[in-house]
Symmetry: C2
Subunit: 349 residues, 2 copies
DNA sequence: GTGAAAGCGCTAACAT
DNA sequence: ATGTTAGCGCTTTCAC
């Protein structure tokens, strides 16, 4: 592998001149010199050793993205959009699966940090930031995506989230407006601020209509161990079956995300219940598939592209110190997309 | 940030001794010295600068994974399993979206290489390897996942794929056995070896039964530009509508992957056609959702976990030079999972 | 058993 | 306008 010295020799200049060419410091040399260097680079097929560059400069145009699981299309889509936004700004993205495990999240963050990545986007995961506070002290810049937590102020440099509470409230209002009075909530373990917010929102919407959310209708995957890979469809399927088997079952269910909703479709069918005839379902996220499944899913849309761009932009601004006092915390508006999985409850329920 | 020198000073030893401790070269020092060093490390909260380590040693326990799009759950699941397998072997994974664009694929590979990543898994993408051949000359080790191509011998160090041709043949045989005679193939642009193999397999199965695959029933997203983000469900939905609107429509359709199949569900419903009553659908991949949608999807399963482990293992073996002449090219067996989306054709078709 | 010293490839003062 | 020089933090001979 050709090094900067080889290029320098070939062009008959010094290494620093080559470095200057490489780093766009024109004006510090004659056009003719520049041309010679460029030609030498071309001929030798030289590429700078990025490792050495980073090592030396301490900076590297890479950010990290920690997601619960790329196997969920919502996070896959986020990764996709984050990558696109970062690429546009000349940054690369390292994607890591933390599996909703604080330990693993901290481990990845540490790895990233000691690989020279200073900025990391943490997406929905544990409720606190305690486990990464020490890394912040060591220079890690953290952006929170759809996540709030205790001690966040000291740890988080910028954050972007959808208003989860509002989103779920919209879902709840829609259902209440349709005439539902027994509404369930279907989720995996509620260990993230976004999940907690969604539950709260539903409760608030019901309260406003003088209804109480029956704790027996809040299913949170309790008692299921090692759900790592079955997160989503499988849990949704199991959960709704339990919910519908209660003495006084719900006539509508809000799910914590679209994957649970799709699982709920399957679970309801397992019991011979029709959607929305026997039970209405509202999802959250609005993944591509939500419009495709049958019946098309009523769901709360997160403006994903906007959120991805905002978090990447904010993070990079902080990293580059060009923050200029812009507000670093944005809350995106969710939107209820009414499709075919919701309807008034059956008479007599 | 504490450096190795700080530790050395604190422990009253030299930097090289600390390095030896760090790199597990015990036996080269007294237990007592080792203990002192360890304690100093602990006290200072020292972590080696991974960048400097890599820079110096030229080695870094990181592999790259280039996928068409993490937004497709199949690739998301692959990324997940690859990461798991790599982690178990002490490696990290950088995931990149190439968007099925050879240019972008080459760009990422180059970035990876100059960041010190020597081993990269390329998953299904362009038909040839020409665009990365020059990188191989510069030291890149490439593993091909579900991908064959021209010039592969010289470029690819190891490969893992499912037998796509066989998989599609199983699908075709199943359909033929059910009595179908007009079978369509629904795909996006066929620019990958895996897609080409699937089409061939279907054709072969039909040929064996004395049937010809009508070119008019092979839909490949022709004429659609900028389909980047709509890959999958959207194309499937559009495609099947066109297929079912032909003069002599198919009674069964094999789709290139499960996302297309789910799109096909929606498209068929758009036209009021029922599955499998009016048209049978077979998918490919067997993503989690395949068992969840309604009707549950008959599909060709790829043994994903096995394939992920095999490619990571083979790649790392090559990287570490412990290949020991083991066969570096494995072909995994696909399996037809018959569920509810296939049935005999209607009488009179 | 432990330390000294030489770099890895690049950048950035500082000279010229 | 260009070259010289001194490291960045670590690993790794090679002495002692």
């Amino acid at each position: 592998m050709a090094s900067i010295l080889d290029v320098a020799r070939a062009a008959g200049v010094s290494a620093s001149t080559v470095s200057n060419v490489l780093n766009g410091r024109h004006g510090r040399m004659q056009a003719e010199t520049r041309a010679r260097v460029l030609q030498a680079i071309e001929e030798l097929g030289y590429t700078p050793n990025a490792l050495a560059q980073q090592f030396k400069s301490g900076r590297n145009r890479t950010i990290g993205l920690i997601v619960p699981s790329v196997a969920n299309p919502f996070w896959g889509a986020l990764a996709h959009k984050v990558e696109r936004a970062a690429t546009a700004l000349g940054y690369k993205v390292l994607i890591c699966n933390a599996e909703r495990d604080p330990q693993q999240e901290a481990r990845y963050a540490e790895t990233l940090l000691s690989s020279g990545v200073r900025g990391v986007i943490f997406s929905s995961s544990p409720l606190t930031f305690d486990h990464i506070a020490h890394l912040v002290r060591r220079g890690l810049v953290v952006a929170a995506f759809d996540r709030r937590g205790q001690g966040a102020e000291e740890v988080v440099a910028c954050s972007v989230s959808v208003d989860n509470e509002l989103g779920a409230r919209l879902a709840g209002q829609h259902l209440v407006g349709l005439g539902h009075r027994r509404i369930g909530f279907l989720s995996g373990p509620i260990r993230t601020s976004s999940r907690a917010g969604r539950l709260d929102g539903l409760r608030a919407a019901m309260a406003k209509a003088g209804l109480a959310l029956d704790p027996a209708l809040v299913w949170q995957g309790a008692g299921i161990g090692g759900y790592g890979d079955t997160e989503g469809p499988e849990l949704g399927r199991i959960g709704i079956r339990e919910l519908l088997s209660r003495d006084d079952p719900p006539t509508a269910v809000v799910t914590v995300n679209d994957m649970y909703a799709m699982g709920a479709y399957a679970g309801a069918r397992d019991l011979g219940a029709s959607i929305p005839g026997d039970v209405s379902i509202v999802g959250f996220d609005d993944v591509d598939l939500a419009a495709v499944v049958h019946p098309a899913l009523t769901t709360v849309r997160q403006p994903l592209a906007v959120m991805a761009e905002a978090s990447v932009g904010a993070l990079i601004r902080v990293l580059e110190g060009t923050d200029a006092g812009q507000e670093a915390h944005v809350s995106a508006m969710p939107q209820l997309i009414v499709r075919a999985s919701t309807a008034p409850p059956k008479q007599g329920s």
